[in-house]
């Protein structure tokens, strides 16, 4: 029963969020641009260092791990293919989504949850200000834009990590590695990765906001909901990743 109610509450939130984000601007009730930009800075710009460092390491690890296998069949140059394709199609979007879940998804749950506990959400409603439009839509806009952007950064830096390792430790010639990567990568790979990133941005925003709005009691519940939002959004990101990957596998 509670599960059905949760589904119902979540779909109401999704409905309302999409209404205020995509329908109401055409009815003359625009989104809050300045708040959206500030959310973009918080979620996007401030995540650049951590996303870059982690995807650099992932690129290095990936190159080492694939070299371990490919060396045996004498196809070391294919390290470039493996690194390039798996980062753009899979690891770039997923690593970015996991980092942003931890940084921003949890912050959204905590922000909205503590506002709920302090009656600030009620106050917004009594001022005739819709809390979803006021709080959730700017966050949605920010993540829908910044998750793909961060993913591009993760792709570039990750591939660079693989390149650096391959040209030094593995002694592959820089130019042939570059050529191999360019030939291996299809625009399709990059685009599907970015589509996934966009969807992950939506998931992280909705899950964080949903958990925040669920808060009924005080500070202790805010903490619990914050943790729950990270677990739930990483879980849902992986589930949707599976779904999208299967979809792209059969239809592209």
């Amino acid at each position: 029963m509670t599960f059905l109610k949760d589904i119902n509450d979540a779909s109401k939130l999704i409905n309302e969020t999409f209404y205020w984000a995509f329908v109401s601007p055409f009815k003359g009730r625009g989104i809050r641009v300045r708040a959206s930009i500030s959310e973009m800075v918080k979620a996007g710009y401030n995540s650049v260092p951590i996303v870059a460092v982690i995807s650099f390491f992932i690129g290095v690890i990936l190159a080492l791990q694939s070299a371990y296998q490919l060396k045996r069949v004498g196809a070391l140059i294919y390290v470039a293919n493996l690194v390039g394709v798996s980062i753009t199609r899979e690891l770039g979007p997923i690593i970015t989504a996991i980092i942003v879940s931890g940084r921003s998804g949890s912050a959204y749950a905590a922000e909205i949850g503590s506002m709920k506990a302090a009656e600030e959400i009620d106050a917004l409603k009594t001022m005739g200000i819709n809390p979803v439009r006021f709080l959730v839509v700017p966050k949605l806009m920010a993540l829908m834009i910044m998750l793909p952007v961060l993913t591009i950064i993760a792709d570039v830096v990750g591939i660079f990590g693989g390149f650096l390792l391959s040209t030094t430790v593995l002694e592959i010639h820089p130019y042939s590695y570059f050529q191999q990567t360019v030939n291996a990568l299809l625009v399709k790979d990059i685009i599907t990765g970015l589509v996934k990133a966009w969807a992950f941005g939506v998931i992280i925003t909705i899950v964080g906001a949903y958990q925040g709005f669920k808060v009924e009691g005080g500070a202790e519940e805010v903490g619990r909901r914050t943790t729950a939002s990270v677990v739930a959004s990483i879980f849902l990101v992986i589930v949707f990743d599976l779904f999208f990957t299967a979809l792209f596998y059969y239809f592209t």
Partner: protein
């Protein structure tokens, strides 16, 4: 006497638990009405229904002839532009300065330009005695100042109806009396209809024109403050004279229960 709000047969539940049990009363226009009652009797719940945050199980709440219990969100927003609410903890947005908090409803609901809004904000802050605190953040203010700032926000759009939830809760007597003065001023000068939910007697005697008393989800009294003082209902006397509820068992009874006799 004209009524600002009329509540008829209001019944509400949290889950299966009935909180308000068939309330009917009216709130006079242009006066200060105090909703009085012990902790947990359902005062905040009633207030949340009056401002349209909760929907009742049954019954109606008429404001200017409209039943707000059945209005949709868009229609409710129209009503809300003419109402202000000061929440128990002031409920200022912590991420914004005091001036931005007070400006928020004005910027949302009017097309006034930035400098006009600034002037309005300064006037409201002046009125509540907070001029000079425009750029402070809620976390930098004391409890009493937060409530004053919350009040400035509540009256930003010059509402006809103003609600207070426990305005003196958590304040020292002097600060609380200062807030009561402000409530009196708003009624006398701006002719607002004011509804105050409280359990603080000194405050009731200072501000109330009209009193509605709740006891475990039922109205046990409604009338003027003088009628309240003259009432001989035992529950009301107990409240006014601050007597505790009668112990169900005497120490001797406890002893007998423990001894299993």
């Amino acid at each position: 006497m004209e009524n600002a709000i009329e509540v008829r047969n209001l019944i509400t539940h949290y889950g299966d638990r009935e909180i308000l049990k068939n309330l009917s009363f009216s709130i006079p226009k242009g006066k200060t009405t105090v909703i009085l009652g012990g902790s947990g009797c359902g005062k905040s719940t009633l207030l949340k229904h009056l401002i349209g945050l909760l929907k009742p199980t049954s019954g109606s709440i008429l404001m200017n002839g409209k039943d707000i219990a059945i209005l949709d969100e868009a229609e409710l927003d129209e009503v809300r532009k003419k109402t202000g609410v000061l929440f128990q903890g002031a409920a200022l947005l912590n991420s914004m300065s005091i001036a931005e908090n007070v400006a928020l409803p004005v910027a949302e609901h009017t097309k006034l330009n930035e400098s006009t809004i600034q002037i309005m904000v300064r006037m409201k802050l002046d009125l509540v005695g907070l001029s000079g605190f425009e750029n402070y953040y809620p976390s930098q203010l004391s409890g009493g100042m937060k409530k004053r700032a919350g009040l400035a926000r509540a009256i930003a759009l010059d509402p006809e109806l103003l609600f207070f939830d426990e305005p003196s809760a958590g304040l020292d007597p002097v600060t609380a009396a200062g807030l009561d003065e402000l409530i009196l001023k708003l009624r006398n000068v701006f002719k607002m209809t004011i509804v105050v939910v409280t359990h603080e007697l000194p405050s009731v005697f200072m501000i109330a024109d009209y009193v509605i008393m709740l006891d475990i989800g039922e109205v046990i009294f409604s009338g003027t403050i003088d009628e309240l003082k003259a009432s001989d209902n035992p529950r009301i006397r107990m409240f006014l004279e601050r007597r505790p509820e009668k112990e169900a068992f005497s120490p001797d009874d406890y002893f007998r229960i423990i001894a299993g006799d």
